[in-house]
């Protein structure tokens, strides 16, 4: 059984908690038995081979999976102790508190300015929108590159710039938790480092979960690391993902409990 609380009592608050979660797409069980506690104001990394359900688990935390018709969750997910999937919970409220950043940059077909201003406007933001746009862009280290073309389309930017635009868009609505699904997959090493610095700065006020295939990135930014693995199921005709190990990042990378974790983090994985 995987230890859901690697912090051994020293832990701060738990923001998100999954308890015995099985996740299905139709009849296909994509993830089984995930129990994990995400600590407040820390960066938690999800690592693991492709298709083991990292994105799936991540999307459950802000109920984005609701949009996939075949999706079904068995088990319990809580946010500050509230059941995220209780029938009286409004998914829109959930997503306002738990923001998401996607693997592929997905700016709106709007101007750079409106891309950032969209979320705050939706929330009924009353303050100085220009200032909010500027600070958000500055924090996403994009301001200098776009300050002269705020009225141009978000698509006029390069892939990496678009991703930073999406980061700025996410932090503009000031969520409490930011879920990042391979946010740096399309970025060059310098932008990646900038984003990592941003994450470290953000984590003082936010809780971050980041999915990454980059081991160095996990060791650089994450306080805790969860290693997911996939297992072939007899008869079910597919693989099912599960949480193999969850611990302090140093422990995962230097002295993991499981052989598969050691193999994966040292790159000896099949």
């Amino acid at each position: 059984m995987v230890d859901t609380m690697p912090m051994n009592g020293t832990m701060t608050d738990v923001v998100l908690r999954a308890k015995d979660c099985d996740i299905y797409y139709g009849a296909y069980k994509a993830v089984r038995d995930v129990s994990i506690d995400i600590p407040k104001n820390k960066i938690t990394a999800f690592i693991g081979p492709s298709g083991c359900g990292k994105s799936t688990v991540l999307r459950c935390f802000n109920r984005l999976n609701d949009l996939i018709e075949s999706f079904r969750l068995k088990g319990q997910m809580t946010y500050h102790g509230q059941d995220l999937y209780a029938s009286d919970v409004d998914p829109v409220e959930v997503r306002r508190r738990i923001g998401m950043l996607f693997q592929k940059p997905n700016p709106f077909p709007k101007t750079i300015y409106d891309n950032i201003a969209y979320g705050p406007r939706i929330k009924g933001f009353k303050g100085d929108l220009d200032e909010l746009v500027e600070t958000s862009l500055r924090r996403a280290v994009l301001w200098d590159e776009v300050k002269d073309k705020l009225q141009e389309s978000g698509f006029s930017l390069s892939g990496g710039q678009q991703q930073r635009l999406c980061i700025a868009r996410t932090i503009a609505v000031e969520p409490e938790v930011v879920l990042m699904d391979e946010p740096c997959a399309a970025l060059d090493p310098i932008s990646t480092l900038k984003i990592e610095e941003l994450m470290k700065e953000l984590v003082q006020n936010y809780t971050i979960i980041i999915v990454t295939h980059n081991m160095q990135q996990a060791t650089r930014v994450a306080d805790y690391t969860a290693f997911y693995n996939a297992q072939v199921v007899e008869g079910a005709g597919g693989k099912v993902g599960y949480l193999a190990e969850f611990n302090h990042t140093e422990t995962i990378f230097s002295d993991p409990e499981q052989e598969s974790t050691r193999d994966y983090v040292t790159g000896r994985f099949g």
Partner: protein, 298 residues
Amino acid sequence: MTTVSGAADAFDAKSLKANKSSSRNLFNIIMTTLAGLCIALALVPLVLVLFYVFVNGANRLDLDLFTQLPPPPGSAGGGISNAISGTIIVVAISTLISVPIGVLCAIWLAEFGGDDTSIDEYVRFGVNMLAGVPSIIAGVFIYGIMVRPGRPGYSALAGGVALAVLMLPTIIRTTDEALKIVPQDIRWASLGVGASKYQTVLKVVLPAAIPSILTGVTLAIARAAGETAPLIFTALFSPFRFSGIDNPIATLAVLVYNFAILPFKPQQELAWAASLILVLLVLITSIIARIATRQKTY
């Protein structure tokens, strides 16, 4: 270096020069010629129609045409001002009716149908059936509801409704497709920053699809403007100026139909001129559609 020069020799052994008489190249040439001929054949009617209409319509293309009413049968002069404004009014009525209904229907199909897809399928099937309904049937249908004895009677409004019935399927289909082309990603992004479903559709998805929707709407308008059959049953015709949407109204298409078969030269000339104006109107709308498409966001 021996291996390198050896490789080069082997490479030289096969010439890269084009061999025009090879069967592959011959086939290419024949097919290209055939395709070119077919294009020419397809363009012949188009060019001839345009040419014919221009030649015959151009000699009445004067100021009177746009300002005067049609003269009594047999007498010369006059114009078709009431038919020009009439076509614009009827088409405007049909657009005002069909665009909101069509776009909202498509939004429901593309964005909200979701859970019960079978209803979507029935609606889509129905829309496709409606698209195949001959225009004269749309006219008879509206005649039955709005015109026949005991009902309000012939009117611009009835004409507009009949055209709206014809425009509706085009608008629903193009909008449905335009919405579906908008990448799923940006819906997720919008929901991800805390927007509700309807905020997402109205503020992100719809604006992204607007150029394609406009194209569909303009094409529907262009088609409706040229329809004659449904208007004969509904808007009828009027030799007078516009006098309210509850009265019969002149339209270009019906004017062409009425005047072309009269045995008087001036009326026939007016029919040609009206054809030319109609063609130009449709052409302009299509060009607008073209320009709208060029600004595609996706």
